[in-house]
């Protein structure tokens, strides 16, 4: 059985609060927002991974040139 989502509405002109089911539009908007967030998070994590890989590659090349690990860290940390 699907859960019926409800929301609480507080009317500031009367102080009354009511609980009503979400509309179909609200449910659709929540799903749109959730998917947009997931896509943005996936992009962010991919960019972070790319950056980390580039950093590791650069560090390895600097070490191969003869720099010590402390020197490499001083340059890239």
């Amino acid at each position: 059985m699907t859960e019926t989502l409800t929301k609480v509405i507080v009317d500031c002109s009367t102080g009354e609060s009511t609980i009503v089911p979400l509309t179909a539009e609200e449910i659709a908007q929540r799903e749109t927002d959730r998917l947009a967030w997931e896509a943005q998070e996936a992009d962010r994590k991919a960019a972070e991974e790319t950056k980390a890989n580039l950093k590791a590659s650069a560090n390895a090349k600097l070490l191969a040139l003869g720099l010590t690990e402390a020197e490499v860290n001083a340059l890239t940390a």
């Binding site: 929301k7 507080v10 009317d11 500031c12 929540r30 947009a36 943005q40």
Partner: protein
């Protein structure tokens, strides 16, 4: 300057959103304090203004590093259902000049408490709602289904003034 409580709501049952409607247009700014907890593993919620989820942009600086998103709506943080029992977030929302016809800025200072050294979040958000309408309703919407029982949202009106203290009722 005065700070006046407009309305406050504590949830007695889990809800998919909390909405303040018919907000009086007599104040200068709006402030909302939200103490929320999630019923699931989601850890944030969004704001909708005038029932709109569109036209939000912003940047946030978070505990997991500096991140920006041009399409990212302003958001608050809250503990997930797996966090330490009975912990709730502490979020501060500021909406200046909410009745003006200019675009509306949004400032958020948020923390998802966990009473733990792991799995907690701190965020500062600078948001913008590109809309000329006066704000008449504010809605908070979790990323997935519900705010937990005990979640509280309190809406205050800030009235500018040349002197005087803070009045909180």
């Amino acid at each position: 300057m005065t700070m006046t409580l407009i309305e406050t709501k504590t949830l007695g049952t889990a809800q998919a959103s909390i909405e303040f409607t018919s907000i009086p247009q007599t104040f200068t700014d709006l402030v909302c304090f939200v103490s929320a907890r999630s019923t699931t593993t989601t850890d944030f919620y969004r704001i909708n203004l005038n029932n709109s989820a569109s036209d939000f942009t912003g940047r946030y600086l978070g505990s997991d590093g500096p991140i920006s998103g041009t399409s990212f709506p302003a958001f608050g943080r809250m503990p997930e259902s797996t966090y330490t029992a009975n912990t709730f977030g502490n979020d501060f929302w500021y909406l200046p000049n909410y009745t003006s016809s200019a675009n509306k800025s949004i400032s958020v200072d948020a923390v998802a408490e966990n009473n733990s050294t792991t799995e907690f979040y701190i965020d500062i958000v600078a948001g913008l709602w590109s809309n000329s309408s006066a704000i008449t309703s504010v809605k908070f919407v979790p990323n997935s289904p519900n705010f937990e029982v005990g979640t509280t949202a309190s809406l205050y009106g800030i009235l500018k003034g040349s002197s005087g203290g803070v009045v909180v009722s």
